[in-house]
């Protein structure tokens, strides 16, 4: 048995030690010696603020009552740290980038820096945390009474009615003093509460050490070894209960949610985080800490149930077991461990809540009340500090009041679960805010409000049941006798575990409204910007904000404002550094959009994003206009990211189109060049006969004394040249028609041999005058082709006359032969000239290609003959070719081939003409 004075003295000495650690750490941190204070181990230990007196004492109680259920409280956080580390990493990154000062600040900042949302979150957090603080007060009070008890009955656990409320009051007051001293030394949350964090880490070690010490003692000194403990009959009672049901899932989910959503966890994990890398260590070290914490929970529960007299409070087994066995020192250590668990939670929670209250409730009010803002340097800072101190007192008072009303009604664990379920309402809007672009302020607000109301009605309200303040009929029959609205059986959902029931209704309504309203309600521009900055935080650095918000302000106004918020010294330092970064030797920095954005972030670290924005807006101009611009840019940027592949595809298509256009253009250019070439050829062919005509007519005009014979000769030349010109123009027109395909020919069934004979007769005169001989070789008989007779005749004459005209032989011989080959009628015109030079073979069928010939043009051929003949042949589905060079002595050989007419075609075609 320990005297109350010894216990009190030990507790005070312990608190003094914490003061010392906090004070030294703060000093070291201010002087830049951060080594130990900012290590990942200290960070991880401080996260164990999660393990409160509830886990310290209550876990054994929970195990004694409900078996393995206690494990869910450790399972949830372990799952998050091991499996959902990416969520924590994103939270920490966003918190650091946007200088989130609290969970309310983070949510408000994500949803367009909304003040109303921040207020709602703060209220929920305060109301949700109050039972939790009360829980700690209750634990400390009970444990103090137990450890300082003088009677044996007290040892079995203090009856609820015997709780010494004065002890609770003094515990609350003491914690308020400690928190105020170390939690409100400075206002920038990002400067970190080094002293507090160090003290919390020490407390984490103490509570773990105490638990392990008592565990070892109980298992080996009382129980006689692990094997013996689990052989006890009570072991079956503890392990045998069926726990893996809906409540198991709900509890695991709740504790996983709590490690993300609890304001104090956010404070430690995100706000106090000094280095993102620390999260890596915490990822395995924190689960390890949790494992060690619960290592001896089951054995202590089993031995407690086996050895303690009936009626003993299992929540106090950790303390009463060593006491009953006369271990005074160990009992004191356990008491200090439990005290550590309670104080660390209360201190961190009240710091986090006081920041929220001052930033999101006091500041917005102050900003709207002109007489509260006199504009003195550092006034905002002192306002914040004062309001934080008052908030801490108020929050602890609230906790104490709840303690007064509810302390006698419930076990430790269930009060903790009420708090967990309360803060779990933050989960939908946090997850949505981190991963869903369209999550909107209206959705978050509606969801939070609905979830909070349902939680308060179904879980918080019933916790007062039996306290006397509420009529019992409310719970048994519902308000105004409406059975459907009974707090613990909403809409007829009877028979559910109260916690599962509350969680189901509150979170379904919360998430449902959040999603539905987000889908329906448009985001405002600032929400859009913030949603991009949050969801794509790893792609978008925060300073991108300055690219969208083109704001300007007088630098003097900004400086005055900064002095008010940050205090003169810090404001001066900040402005000097920015000026230096802008390359200015002295004076104030330029008020660039980038600088204003940076200043707003600095402010946000002190007074929260929403208030920072309001303050900055007071001196800034040109914001509303650029918001639209920003919208456009954000949308564009997002689209560029999301549709980059489509863009790439489009650009490939464009490239292909461009290539096709280029090719088409090349073809057109080629055609254009051909046209120019053709015109130039035509010009040449026309000008040559024109030159003769003009020259001779001038001679005839000037010289009247010409001899009659000579004058007649000149006139006949003029006449010939005129005919030549006419022929040329006819040929050009003819070719043009053929090429354009405008003339629709009616083809007749023709005997090609008869046409060939006619052509030969026509050319005899020409051959004779040229001294050439026309010979007829083998002939085909009975051939019929579909052809235009005159045109076919034209082709034959052209081929024969070419053979005569362009024959270099001194005794020109032209041989004609015809035959039927593979269903085609073929005519070959062969001469004994020099043949066509290899270089000209490809060219002779093109227009004006007379150049290959060695002789001078006499009979006016303009070089269009072969081009026309080939066009005619093709019109009749035939072909005109120059055959490869034959044996020596054989000159050029041209072959015309036409398809033989099918018998059935004969009469119809004739009728068609």
């Amino acid at each position: 048995m320990l005297s109350a004075n010894v216990v009190l003295f030990t507790a005070l000495a312990y608190v003094a030690l914490l003061f010392l650690v906090a004070f030294v750490s703060d000093r070291r941190a201010r002087h830049g010696w951060l080594g130990l204070v900012r290590s990942p181990v200290v960070y991880t230990l401080s996260i164990s603020v999660y393990c409160t007196s509830w886990t310290f004492y209550g876990a054994v109680g929970s195990a004694a009552r409900n078996g393995l259920e206690f494990a869910t409280i450790y399972l949830g956080p372990t799952l998050v740290f091991v499996g959902w580390w990416f969520l924590l990493r994103k939270l920490v990154r966003i918190g650091r980038v946007h200088r989130a000062s609290s969970i309310a600040d983070l949510i408000s900042s994500r949803y367009g820096k909304s003040t109303s949302l921040a207020v709602l979150v703060t209220i929920i957090a305060v109301i949700g945390t109050t039972p939790y603080i009360a829980l700690q007060l209750k634990a400390v009070t009970t444990s103090f009474q137990v450890v300082a008890s003088t009677t044996h009955t007290d040892l079995l656990g203090i009856a609820e009615s015997d709780l010494d409320l004065r002890t609770g009051f003094w515990v609350a007051a003491g914690m308020a003093v400690f928190t105020i001293l170390f939690g409100t030394r400075n206002i920038d949350a990002n400067e970190h509460h080094h002293g507090v964090v160090a003290a919390i880490a020490l407390e984490a070690l103490v509570k773990l050490f105490a638990l392990i010490a008592v565990g070892l003692y109980v298992v080996f000194a009382i129980g006689g070894g692990i094997g013996e403990v689990f052989a006890l009959p009570t072991s079956d009672r503890v392990l045998g209960s069926e726990v893996f049901g809906a409540r198991w899932v709900a509890l695991t989910f709740l504790s996983a949610t709590a490690i993300i959503c609890l304001p104090r966890q956010f404070q430690i994990t995100v706000v106090e985080n000094a280095d993102e890398e620390h999260l890596r260590t915490a990822g395995w070290l924190f689960p390890l800490y949790l494992f060690l914490t619960c290592l001896f929970t089951l054995p202590i529960a089993i031995i407690g149930l086996a050895t303690m007299p009936p009626g003993a409070n299992p929540d106090m087994f950790v303390l009463t077991l060593p006491m009953l066995n006369g271990q005074g020192a160990l009992s004191l250590l356990v008491f200090i461990g439990g005290f550590s668990s309670a104080t660390s939670m209360v201190i961190v929670a009240s710091i986090a809540l006081s920041i929220m209250v001052s930033n999101h409730i006091v500041m917005p009010i102050a900003l709207r009340l002109p007489w509260l803002a006199p504009g003195v340097s550092g006034d905002v800072k002192s306002l914040l500090l004062t309001s934080r101190r008052i908030s801490i007192v108020l929050i602890l008072s609230l906790g104490f009041v709840y303690f007064l009303f509810s302390a006698r009604s419930d076990a430790l664990a269930s009060i903790g679960l009420i708090a967990f379920a309360g803060v779990a309402q933050f989960l939908p809007c946090i997850l949505g805010g981190l991963y869903w672009h369209s999550a909107s302020k209206a959705g978050a607000f509606a969801g939070l409000l609905a979830g909070f109301v349902v939680w308060a009605y179904t879980l918080l309200l019933p916790s007062f049941e039996g306290g006397g303040a509420l009529p019992a009929s409310l719970f048994s029959e519902g308000p105004w006798g409406l059975g459907l609205l009974r707090p613990q059986a909403l809409f007829g959902a009877e028979g559910m575990d109260p916690l599962v029931h509350a969680l189901f209704w509150s979170l379904s309504l919360n998430a449902g409204l959040f999603v539905l309203i987000s889908l329906v309600k448009e985001q405002n521009p600032l929400e859009r910007l913030q949603s991009t900055l949050f969801v794509d935080v790893f792609r978008n650095p925060a300073d991108r904000e300055s690219r969208f918000l083109h704001r300007s302000a007088a630098i003097d106004d900004l400086f005055v404002l900064a002095q008010r918020v940050l205090g003169a010294e810090r404001a001066y330092r900040l402005f000097r550094e920015s000026a230096r970064r802008q390359g200015l030797e002295e004076g104030l920095p330029r008020p660039s959009a980038e600088f204003i954005a940076q200043l707003e972030r600095e402010f946000a670290g002190s007074i929260g994003a929403a208030s920072a924005r309001v303050m900055i807006s007071q001196v800034v101009t040109g914001e509303t206009i650029s918001l639209d611009e920003m919208m456009r840019l954000v949308d564009e940027t997002q689209q560029v990211i999301e549709y980059s592949q489509q863009l790439e595809q489009k650009s490939q298509q464009l490239q292909m189109t461009a290539r096709q256009l280029r090719e088409a253009n090349d073809r057109l250019k080629q055609l254009d060049a051909q046209k120019d070439d053709f015109l130039s050829q035509v010009s040449h062919e026309v000008r040559t006969p024109m030159a003769s005509i003009r020259s001779f007519s001038e001679i005839l005009l000037e010289a009247r004394d010409l001899e009659g014979e000579q004058a007649a000769r000149f006139l006949s030349i003029i006449h010939d040249e005129t005919l030549r010109l006419t022929r040329l123009l006819d040929e050009i027109l003819d070719l043009s028609h053929l090429e354009r395909g405008e003339v629709a020919w009616s083809l007749d069934l023709v005997d090609p041999e008869r046409v060939l004979d006619r052509a030969v007769e026509t050319c005899r005169g020409m051959a004779a005058s040229a001294g050439a001989r026309l010979t007829i070789g083998t002939r085909a008989g009975g051939a019929r082709v579909m052809a235009h007779e005159d045109r076919l005749n034209q082709v034959f004459i052209n081929l024969i006359s070419n053979a005569i005209k362009h024959n270099s032989s001194r005794r020109p011989v032209i041989t004609l032969s015809s035959g039927l080959v593979d269903g085609r009628y073929e005519v070959v015109v062969q001469d004994n000239g020099g043949g066509v030079p290899a270089a000209a073979r490809e060219r002779i069928f093109t227009k004006f290609s007379r150049a290959w010939t060695q002789s001078r043009p006499r009979e006016g051929g303009a070089g269009l003959g072969l081009a026309i003949s080939r066009a005619i042949a093709r019109k009749m589905q035939g072909e005109l070719e120059l055959l490869p060079d034959g044996p020596a002595g054989v000159g050029a050989r041209f072959r015309l081939s036409l398809p033989l007419a099918a018998a059935a075609e004969q009469p119809e075609r004739r009728a068609g003409e």
């Binding site: 130039s680 010009s683 040449h684 000008r687 040559t688 024109m690 030159a691 003769s692 005509i693 003009r694 020259s695 001779f696 001038e698 001679i699 000037e702 010289a703 000149f714 030349i717 010939d720 040249e721 150049a851 010939t853 060695q854 001078r856």
Partner: protein, 121 residues
């Protein structure tokens, strides 16, 4: 007596040119293709060469270039005849050193005056 050499493949034009130049009292000879021009120039040099652009075998520009780069021949005044009448042809002729340029169909006076000018230098 002033000697004129005509290089032209159109027989009718050779006839008309010969007639009007002889009427001026000049001695006129004619060739019908590019190679024949150079052959002719191996002997006595004419006072003026009338050179058609579109000659068989070797075209007029080719011949002009040969003449103007040959020290023995370079002094011969050359009158170019062209039927294409394009500015491009005139430029080519000037660059290669043609002394005069006449487009078909020409006026007889134009040809005679040009030759007179060239021969009188």
């Amino acid at each position: 007596m002033t000697a004129i050499l005509i290089a032209e493949d159109e027989p009718n034009l050779v006839e008309s040119l010969s007639f009007i130049l002889r009427r001026e009292g000049w001695a006129v000879s004619a060739v019908f293709d590019g190679e024949a021009v150079l052959e002719e120039l191996r002997g006595d040099l004419p006072d003026v060469l009338v050179l058609d652009v579109m000659l068989p075998k070797r075209n007029g520009f080719d011949i002009l270039k040969t003449i103007k780069t040959d020290p023995r021949l370079t002094a011969i005044p050359v009158l170019m005849l062209t039927a294409k009448g394009q500015e491009r042809d005139r430029k080519t002729a000037e660059q290669l050193g043609a002394d005069a340029f006449v487009t078909k169909p020409f006026s007889n006076r134009e040809v005679v005056d040009s030759i007179k000018r060239l021969a009188g230098r």
